[in-house]
């Protein structure tokens, strides 16, 4: 070999080492990408190549205290179209015609959607939330037209329809602000969220995790094949303290009342559990999830969003009198047999204050005064007791203060008395005491507060925080949340005073203004009220609690019928229905109605069966 003929060969070695170093650098880079950071790039590649067709997960169910489902889920069917390869317009036209006929939509419009999907090669949602009947017809199309498919989603369903609407709430689409807040929390732009009541308050617990069909897509976003299905996860179930029967009685009772507007709250005086909470007018939450867009629009347009039971503040009227009496009796300002004369009016200086009964009640003492709700008697009691004491007792009962129940929009009402006045720098006059003594004037309370107060009257002083959750059964393995009774406060009064007040409330029902709520076989106690309303007809109030003889009361109720007039006439029957439902007793009125309805149905069936028989041969021919 002729070395001299070659060049400076060490130069070649330098070149080789430079190349070898570059090769080593490339090898290290490969190791970095493919071994160290592989997982990261793999995730990026998967994100690149897949697209989800989401399926809304079922929300947690809501049960009443006996396990009756109040909110469940129903399968809802969405029709999707997965474009295939090279389908021409003439292939899509018969499909569009067929779909248009079955969905009741414009075939031209559907054809455009189909063509768009075909052109873009991406899945299209042709129809959402299809009724079951249509679904069965459409499932035939699956075999005739490849690419058409039905996917199942979960849709909220409320088996009772119009039932505790304001308490349970409803589901709806998010507004832009809500969407901004939830963007990062696993919601999608078309997700529905709880919009009111406990659907909203327990949104976190109730919502499940959406599943979906994962499709492989290419760089142009065209669907290639199904990669798999991600199963959804249902939300956590919530058990309520609501008693479906009592709630139903409350809803129906209020709906059938004179004006059909008002609120009713029933509380277990032993624990503070809410047995029923009704606000009228209500709405059908199913209508807001209807398959018919018109119905949804109509319902949401005039949705009665106002929950009278927690957000309506009204003067308590005469239902406040047991509290005034308790203050007076317990503090020794009057004795039970102290009698006052009622001529039908009361003079304070130049002012004349009327009794509701202008004829007058004559001489009345405690039991008579409460049973007849004599205003003049309570004017006298009020003046003897003094505004400050009444205010203190009212505050102890929780009136005019928020209970902080887990619902949005609760109002506090307004407690009115010398102390409140002093804080706002105004004076207190005897005229105010008179107004306060009969629950009028500036004093306003919510039906919920009054129910809590009624429960405290029933259990001799324990003011419970009202709650409606019994248990939350978490799906994620957390131990169940079990609601424990929580004391808001305690009313301290002498046993003698409690005895007298409870005796008085019993007499109100047995032989007083509240006799429409009388139920044989039960000890019902209560107080009617008529709240003066400067804007129209008076509001009718009724508070009550009931027990089987010899037992402690197990239900306390406050009923308000807006512009209902006299409490004993319009509000008391609602409470009576609720008490009957609570003790599982038949409602004689409902029984009579049911019998009449049955008879009417039979008559109708007899009348209708005639033409059917006549019509049959014609159909055969």
């Amino acid at each position: 070999m002729n070395r001299a003929a070659g060049g400076p060969r060490e130069r070649l070695e330098v070149l080789w080492w430079v190349v070898a170093a570059a090769g080593a650098a490339l090898g290290l880079r490969l190791a970095q990408l493919q071994i160290l950071d592989s997982a990261e790039y793999r995730a990026m590649a998967e994100r690149n190549a897949s697209q989800m067709i989401y399926q809304a997960a079922p929300r947690g169910r809501i049960y009443d205290r006996a396990g009756i489902p109040l909110a469940t889920n129903q399968p809802s069917f969405s029709l999707i179209f997965l474009p295939g390869k090279g389908k021409a317009r003439q292939d899509l036209e018969p499909l569009a015609r067929e779909l248009g006929r079955q969905l009741g939509r414009d075939p031209q419009e559907l054809l455009e959607t189909l063509e768009e999907a075909e052109r873009e090669q991406s899945a299209a949602r042709l129809a959402e939330n299809l009724p079951t009947a249509t679904m069965f017809q459409l499932s035939e199309l699956k075999t005739l037209y490849p690419g058409v498919d039905l996917i199942t989603e979960a849709r909220r369903y409320y088996p009772f329809g119009r039932f505790a609407s304001h308490l349970i709430g409803f589901m709806g689409k998010m507004n832009p602000r809500e969407w901004r807040e939830r963007k990062t929390k696993g919601y999608r732009a078309d997700s529905r969220i709880g919009k009111m009541g406990l659907e909203s308050a327990f949104e976190e617990e109730l919502r499940g995790r959406d599943g979906g069909i994962q499709m492989e897509v290419d760089a142009q976003g065209r669907l290639k094949r199904m990669l798999g299905q991600i199963p959804w996860e249902a939300g956590s179930n919530i058990h309520l303290t609501i008693d479906a029967a009592v709630q139903k009685a409350a809803d129906e009772g209020l709906r059938k009342s004179v004006t059909g507007r008002g609120a009713a709250v029933a509380i277990d005086p032993r624990t503070g559990e809410i047995l029923a909470m009704s606000s009228q007018p209500d709405f059908d939450p199913n209508a807001l999830l209807s398959t018919d867009p018109e119905e949804v629009k109509r319902t949401s347009h005039d949705l009665p969003e106002f929950n009278n039971a927690i957000a309506g503040a009204y003067p308590p009227g005469s239902t406040f009198k047991p509290i005034v009496g308790l203050a007076a009796l317990s503090e020794g300002r009057i004795r039970a047999n102290d009698a006052f004369f009622c001529p039908g009016y009361f003079k304070l200086g130049d002012h004349v204050f009327h009794c509701w009964d202008h004829k007058g009640h004559g001489r009345v003492s405690w039991l008579m005064g409460l049973a007849q709700s004599c205003d003049v008697y309570f004017y006298n009691v009020g003046l003897k007791t003094g505004g400050a004491l009444i205010e203190r007792y009212a505050r102890a009962f929780g009136l005019g203060q928020r209970t902080n129940i887990a619902l949005r929009g609760e109002k506090g009402g307004h407690l009115f008395g010398p102390e409140t006045r002093r804080k706002s720098g105004k004076g207190w006059y005897d005229g105010d005491t008179l107004n306060l003594a009969i629950g009028q004037g500036e004093l306003t309370v919510t039906p919920l507060q009054l129910a809590v107060a009624a429960a405290a009257l029933a259990n001799r002083g324990t003011v419970w925080r009202p709650h409606y959750t019994q248990k939350i059964a978490y799906v994620d393995g957390r131990p169940d949340f079990v609601q424990k009774p929580e004391r808001l406060g305690q009313v301290y009064a002498t046993d003698a005073a409690w005895d007298l007040v409870q005796k008085g409330m019993e007499v109100v029902i047995s032989s007083g203004t509240g006799y429409p709520a009388k139920i044989p076989g039960l000890v019902v106690s209560g107080k009617t009220g008529t709240a003066q309303n400067p804007h129209g007809q008076d509001h009718a109030w009724f508070i009550a609690y009931a027990a089987r003889p010899g037992e402690t009361p197990s239900i306390a109720i406050a009923v308000l019928v807006e512009n209902g007039g006299h409490g004993g006439v319009t509000a008391a029957p609602v409470a009576k229905k609720m008490i009957l439902a609570h003790f599982g007793m038949p409602d004689p009125e409902a029984l009579r109605e049911a019998r009449e309805a049955e008879r009417a149905a039979q008559r109708a069936a007899r009348a209708a069966s005639v033409p059917t028989r006549l019509g049959l041969p014609g159909a055969v021919r």
Binding site: N2, G7, W16, G23, Q34, I35, A45, N48
Partner: protein, 447 residues
């Protein structure tokens, strides 16, 4: 009969390691190509062309072994003429595709003469450098070598194919270096090349980072200079004045520096600046975007940077064992651009994983190593220079292509030799490697 005997005589001297490394590369490349091209519209046509080219290339590889490689040195002038004629012809009768007039269409097939001319330039330069062995230290050798390559490069630039023309410079530099040229002279050339390239790079950087540069500021000056106007002339004059001043300073300080340096250095700088400005002005928008993607990655995810990101995702997601042939989501679903041509290495990385990618890299290094061994063993200086030139060429193109796929180099439209799809490229590359095998096999005797 004599040819048969000669073949039989050299078969024992063939570098079988080299041959099998080349076959291994081609086989792996074929597998990757089969998978990567499977989603393209003309899959069967691509397959057909590939296998025809593969067969032709292997035959050429074997044929080249059969006769003495020095025939190329003897026919150097003819080879140079072929290269010039072909490159001129392609500009006249060539067909354009994707913006380049780079293909000559003949009945039955079309081919890309630029690939051939690159190898021809290596052969011609090897002859030239062999003959100037005694004057290799002269700067004139360097300039002449560049002068020989320049017409071909200019013709390729005219197509326009900036990336292929670019691959000539490291090849020539590698050959000059191995021939024993003065390192300083090479540095001048390198400096020229680097300066030329830096003009569009710095211009792009300034244009992206300081789009609203104030007049009089440095970025504004750069932007103005790159527009070939009064500012360019000013910079050239300033350069001349500066070098004159430095010359006077050096004389005054009695430094032992050749006066030539004060003429040559500014001349090179000026020439580089002018070439750079010219290239900058000629640049197509897609080429500009590649610079943008390199100086400011992430600025335009859907544009030029998209390719690099998708390539990195493809390679990274392959992991150690890969996703299997035909199963790479990045390549099969079309996220990876140019997946059977320029970015085929990313397809290998995705579908065959670290194992496949490092197999290709390893085989490449083995082939390069065997070319270097052939250069060492070469019987004459011509053979040594041919091997050095081909080693530089293959190494540079491989590093540029794989570096681009893994995001270490800017995007250049250069295929990976022996792996990427491309008939002419495969045939020419196999032929050129046949020459290397020939040189090695004739290390003892020119049979």
């Amino acid at each position: 009969m004599r040819a048969m005997k000669a073949q039989a005589g050299i078969s024992g001297r063939v570098d079988w390691t080299f041959v099998f490394a080349v076959i291994g590369l081609v086989a792996t490349g074929t597998m990757a190509m089969l998978s990567a091209a499977s989603t393209t519209m003309m899959y069967s046509a691509i397959l057909q062309k590939h296998f025809v080219a593969l067969a032709l290339g292997l035959v050429l590889f074997a044929l080249t072994l059969a006769f003495n490689y020095q025939v190329f040195q003897d026919q150097s002038k003819a080879l140079y003429a072929i290269a010039l004629v072909m490159m001129s012809a392609v500009l006249v009768i060539g067909t354009a595709a994707r913006g380049h007039r780079a293909w000559i269409r003949l009945p039955g097939f079309s081919f890309q003469p630029a690939e051939l001319s690159r190898v021809l330039v290596v052969l011609v330069l090897a002859d030239f450098l062999d003959r100037r062995a005694l004057r290799v230290q002269d700067f004139s050798t360097v300039l002449l070598a560049l002068g020989i390559a320049a017409p071909i490069m200019l013709l390729i630039l005219k197509q326009p194919d900036f990336s292929t023309a670019l691959t000539f410079l490291p090849t020539i530099t590698g050959m000059l270096f191995c021939a024993g040229a003065d390192v300083f002279h090479l540095l001048f050339v390198f400096g020229y090349g680097a300066l030329t390239l830096s003009v569009p790079l710095v211009y792009t950087l300034c244009a992206v980072r300081f789009p609203n540069a104030l007049p009089g500021s440095l970025p504004a000056l750069v932007l103005a200079t790159a527009k070939m106007g009064w500012a360019t002339l000013g910079v050239l004059l300033a350069l001349a004045v500066l070098s004159a001043l430095v010359w006077r300073l050096a004389t005054w300080m009695r430094l032992q520096v050749k006066p030539l340096a004060f003429v040559v250095l500014p001349l090179i700088a000026s020439a580089a600046l002018l070439t750079g400005v010219a290239i900058n002005r000629q640049m197509k928008s897609y080429q500009r975007n590649r610079f943008v993607a390199f100086v400011a990655p992430g600025s335009d995810v859907q544009g030029a940077a998209y390719n690099v990101i998708q390539s990195k995702v493809a390679i990274g997601s392959g992991g150690v064992w890969g996703k299997g042939l035909f199963s790479g989501t990045q390549s099969q679903l079309g996220f990876l651009p140019e997946r059977h041509t320029d970015f085929i290495f990313a397809n290998v990385g995705e579908e065959m994983g670290f194992v496949g990618a490092s197999l290709i890299l390893g085989l490449y290094m083995l082939v390069l190593w065997r070319i270097v061994v052939a250069a060492r063993a070469a019987r004459d200086r011509y053979g040594y220079l041919v091997c050095a030139g081909l080693a530089s060429m293959f190494a540079f193109v491989m590093i540029l292509n794989i570096g681009m796929c893994v995001g270490l180099m800017p995007v250049a439209g250069i295929p990976l030799p022996l792996i990427s799809y491309g008939g002419s490229s495969l045939v020419i590359n196999l032929w050129s490697l046949g020459i290397v095998a020939n040189i090695y096999a004739r290390r003892y005797a020119l049979l």
